[in-house]
Symmetry: C2
Subunit: 176 residues, 2 copies
Amino acid sequence: MSHRYLILGLLTECPMSGYDIKKRVNFALKAVANASYGTLYPTLHKLLDEGAVEVHEIAQVGRPSKKVYRITERGQLELQEWLKQPPITDQIRREFLLKLYLAHDLPTADLQAMVRARREEVTDMLTRLRVEREVAQTPQQIWIIDYALQLGEAELEWIRNIQKQITTHDRVASPA
Amino acid sequence: MSHRYLILGLLTECPMSGYDIKKRVNFALKAVANASYGTLYPTLHKLLDEGAVEVHEIAQVGRPSKKVYRITERGQLELQEWLKQPPITDQIRREFLLKLYLAHDLPTADLQAMVRARREEVTDMLTRLRVEREVAQTPQQIWIIDYALQLGEAELEWIRNIQKQITTHDRVASPA
DNA sequence: CTGCACATGTAAGGTGTTACATGATTCC
DNA sequence: GGAATCATGTAACACCTTACATGTGCAG
């Protein structure tokens, strides 16, 4: 349901096509949201049916014509209503954590490899985020990136701790 | 798909009924997973069909008979295979963050209320987690709780920062 | 000439939640 | 008497991803 409001929210910034919305989500919000065409286009059609957006088809030379959607007053009201509702509390879901929990009888070396892989993944993510932070334009965008950075750093610290525990409770595999 | 392995993994600890599995998930894993009966029972039936688990019905006095599921060798092999696969990287999804991002033209007071509410939510969560940490029994359970604690504390710090920014860029509503 | 960016869409399938249905016992 | 705990299950629906289908122009 919140894809609906994601779209309405982005159309508040400026009118856009479905294709543009996807790029925008991948640029400014990829740390916390995503939108596939399979969701995006049907949702736009539905919003159109309900009068929350309106559309203007724009012909282009050398490339397919685009449908630019603009939010209506009605859509804006609906968005404001939603924003005023208390947000739902999303669960932390990490397949990585589930595996770690269930991995009690996996060989220690495998467990260490898993944790090491996750550490690298988080490190890479942090690097990417720091680059993105430089090019971010609005305070809101920076908030989102800082959120992801803060969580990533926290996870790294947690991982270092786990690694100490795994190393000490059993023999160590040669580090990669 | 990972509910399947969550169930297999818990049945590795000891044979259980569907009802028991739910309690166990809510106890040891509620920070990172959940299991509704609507998923649990159909998944158990499927695992039974495929020979990954076996069942023994146990009659009880004064309450419904229970079906105790036990993992088979085949189920254990499947679980080990899955554990060896690299975990998928789950996205951070927070409706709260999305609202914050989209709330640029919401009145400052509303924005502040939203952030304050989130702060309280996280604070409460941390309190609950610290209690749970005391009663946790295995290192794995403590890992999970520590993960949630670490992230929660990171979010709190981030929130304090956001609050400073919101306060300064506009007049302040009277604090609650 | 291969692949990417532009641009829109549909269909099938997987995954999961909520609500409903049933029914005994125990605690307040 | 009402609510919670024990215990199992189904059905309807919401939601989302993947893969497919289509087609042009430009850069390497």
